[in-house]
């Protein structure tokens, strides 16, 4: 499979001198197109920091991150922002939907940031809401939706610009078990393609079954382990 994300020797530390604390220590891994990669680990293990560095929003102090062959941290700030806008889709833990916009407008935000005409962006957003089964909710504000529905809106927003990389941060953290399972099932069935790589940060073992590969982080280091071993733990 073609490599989508290539992280090599990535370090991140905070503070200097005696106060320096390592969040990520020399992590290297690959993620491929057509796979769902889980990054798991306890709180404070560095997985969110790692996620931020591979998605181009937190500069590593050492090491390289390539996405589809492009060293993203070599890009100027504006180009990196544009790269994120077009190549990476984000689903945040708390969704971060705009409560003052309609559901369709929320989904259309990435297209609007790409300077697509408003009506065209909204029309496309409506189509993507249909894909996630929320076409009938397009004109409601997100606060009128359930947690699972908001999650699906966040997924539709992440997908609307057809990104090659989809990053989900704790996608089931605010959902009940059944809804979380349904969302992951939906992602695997409908969202995963041969041209897309999905990286999910989670510590929810109930959804490990949906992963192609699982890597575990601990104290800022990364170790790849088998899913069966993790389940046994």
């Amino acid at each position: 499979m073609k490599i989508a994300i290539e992280a090599r020797g990535v370090h991140k530390w905070f503070g200097e001198g005696d106060a320096r604390t390592y969040a990520v220590k020399g992590v290297s891994f690959d993620a491929c197109f057509g796979e769902i990669l889980y990054v798991v680990g306890p709180s404070g293990s560095g997985k969110t920091t790692m996620l931020s560095m591979i998605s181009g929003i937190l500069r590593p102090d050492q090491g390289t991150v390539k996405i589809d062959g492009t060293d993203i941290w070599d890009l100027p700030d504006d180009d990196l922002a544009e790269f994120r806008l077009r190549k990476i889709g984000f689903v945040f833990q708390d969704f971060h939907l705009f409560p003052r916009l309609t559901t369709a407008e929320n989904v259309a935000v990435p297209l609007i940031l790409q300077d697509r005409p408003w009506d065209e962006a909204i029309a496309e957003a409506r189509r993507d809401l249909d894909v996630v089964g929320l076409g009938h909710r397009a004109d409601l504000p997100p606060v009128k939706l359930s947690g699972g529905e908001q999650q699906r809106v966040a997924i539709a927003r992440a997908l609307v610009s057809r990104p090659e990389i989809l990053i989900l941060d704790e996608p089931t953290a605010s959902l009940d078990g059944d809804t979380g399972q349904a969302i992951l099932d939906f992602i695997r069935r409908e969202i995963l393609t041969e041209q897309r790589c999905i990286v999910i940060v989670t510590h929810d073992s109930r959804i490990f079954d949906f992963a192609d590969r699982i890597v575990q982080m601990e104290d800022g280091r990364l170790k790849s382990i088998e899913r069966e071993k993790l389940d046994a733990q």
């Binding site: 920091t49 931020s52 937190l58 945040f92 003052r100 916009l101 407008e105 297209l111 697509r116």
Partner: protein
């Protein structure tokens, strides 16, 4: 409208509570600023009403005169001296003084009496009713139909009154550009009748009204008048001198400045604080936008647009509210002196721009320093 600005617009106006608070803050501040400055403009305009209404190009006066209402009579030789200046086309005396009238119903009413040069009636007002030559008739006076007119009992032509034990008759009704500041009605008559009916000092001319042969003669006229110890001011200079007196030598200007400054500070603090709170409440959303791929300039434009939109809307509402308040006030208080001038509007607009700029500065600073990483960290 670009899509990002449309998003900014919806984020702003759909948060009705915050948007309402911002609008109220700015509208109230603009209302107070324009109201205060308009009142001041009204006072200044009315303080020089006689100068505007008479309309002479040059006014000759004692150098100690500060306002048109406080004239110092000039010796007669000054008129002869001024008439002898080569660049003077003509010069006439003007009487300006106060008198106590006894109206037909027996009540007393103070009035401002202007005595126009008998031969030319230079500075006469436009008549609404009657004929100007009737002012030469026995006891003839022309009443100005302004906001103080009702204090004369709304007289018609032929109405009589007493002035210093002399009979006066209204022979015409006139209109003028501006009402006076002190809330008393104005009567026009001839210079000689004014001197005859109203007790005077030894010197009788309040001002000399001068028309130059050409504008180029004005400096020479002013120099010649100064040489004999008097002061010649153009109409605009006299108005400016009166304004300066009210601005700097009475408490009016200072009080208005203080009130305007307080209005500005109130507006700045209400809208600045509310806008900053609005940004803080949306900071995670702006961080999410940044993570998704919004560039710094997109976010700056969104915030500037929000600040600009709410400020301009508040400015429009404030101006409208002020105009409505002045209009309503004039329905019940004909003497209400407020005037909204372009200068008032520009001043308030500049202050609103400062409010918008200051409000958005802190918001922009906050949004530009938010790290998208914080969004992931929760």
């Amino acid at each position: 409208m670009p899509g990002t600005l449309r998003i900014a617009y919806k984020l702003l106006v759909n948060d009705r509570a915050k948007y309402g608070a911002l609008l109220v803050g700015i509208t109230f501040a603009v209302f107070l600023m324009i109201e205060m400055t308009s009142l001041f403009s009204g006072v200044l305009s009315r303080s020089s009403a006689t100068v505007r209404n008479i309309g002479a190009s040059i006014w000759v006066m004692d150098p100690a005169v500060q306002t048109v209402a406080n004239s110092i009579p000039l010796p007669d030789y000054v008129l002869d001296e001024v008439r002898s200046i080569p660049g003077v086309a003509f010069a006439v005396p003007l009487y300006s003084g106060s008198a106590l009238l006894k109206l037909s119903d027996g009540t007393y009413q103070a009035a401002n009496v202007l005595g126009l040069d008998d031969t030319s009636l230079f500075g006469r007002p436009a008549l609404l009713d009657g004929k100007i030559e009737d002012v030469f008739a026995e006891n003839g006076f022309i009443a100005v139909k302004d906001s103080e007119f009702y204090k004369l009992g709304n007289p018609k032509i032929g109405a009589e009154f007493e002035i210093n034990d002399n009979r006066g008759v209204i022979v015409g009704l006139a209109k003028v550009a501006s009402s006076g500041l002190f809330g008393v009605p104005t009567l026009y008559t001839t210079y000689s009748r004014a001197l005859q009916y109203i007790p005077s000092l030894r010197f009788t001319s309040s001002y000399l009204l001068v028309e130059p042969k050409s504008p180029a003669d004005i400096p020479a006229i002013k120099a010649r008048v100064a040489a004999i110890g008097y002061l010649a001011l153009t109409k605009d200079e006299f108005i400016a001198q009166i304004s300066k007196f009210y601005k700097f030598h009475t408490g009016i200007g200072t009080n208005m400045l203080i009130m305007t400054t307080i209005s500005f500070i109130i507006g700045l603090s209400i809208s600045g604080q509310t806008f900053y709170t609005f940004i803080l409440e949306n900071i995670e959303k702006f961080g999410a936008l940044k993570a998704i791929g919004a560039k710094g300039r997109d976010l700056v434009m969104m915030i500037l647009f929000q600040a600009g939109f709410v400020s301009l809307t508040g400015f429009g509402l404030g101006v409208g509210l002020c105009a409505l308040a002045i209009w309503t006030a004039r329905l019940y208080l004909p003497d209400y002196a407020a005037i909204i001038t372009w200068l008032n509007l520009v001043l308030a607009f500049l202050m609103v721009l400062i409010i918008a700029g200051a409000s958005s500065y802190f918001g922009v600073h906050k949004v530009l320093t938010i790290e998208p990483f914080d969004i992931f960290r929760g």
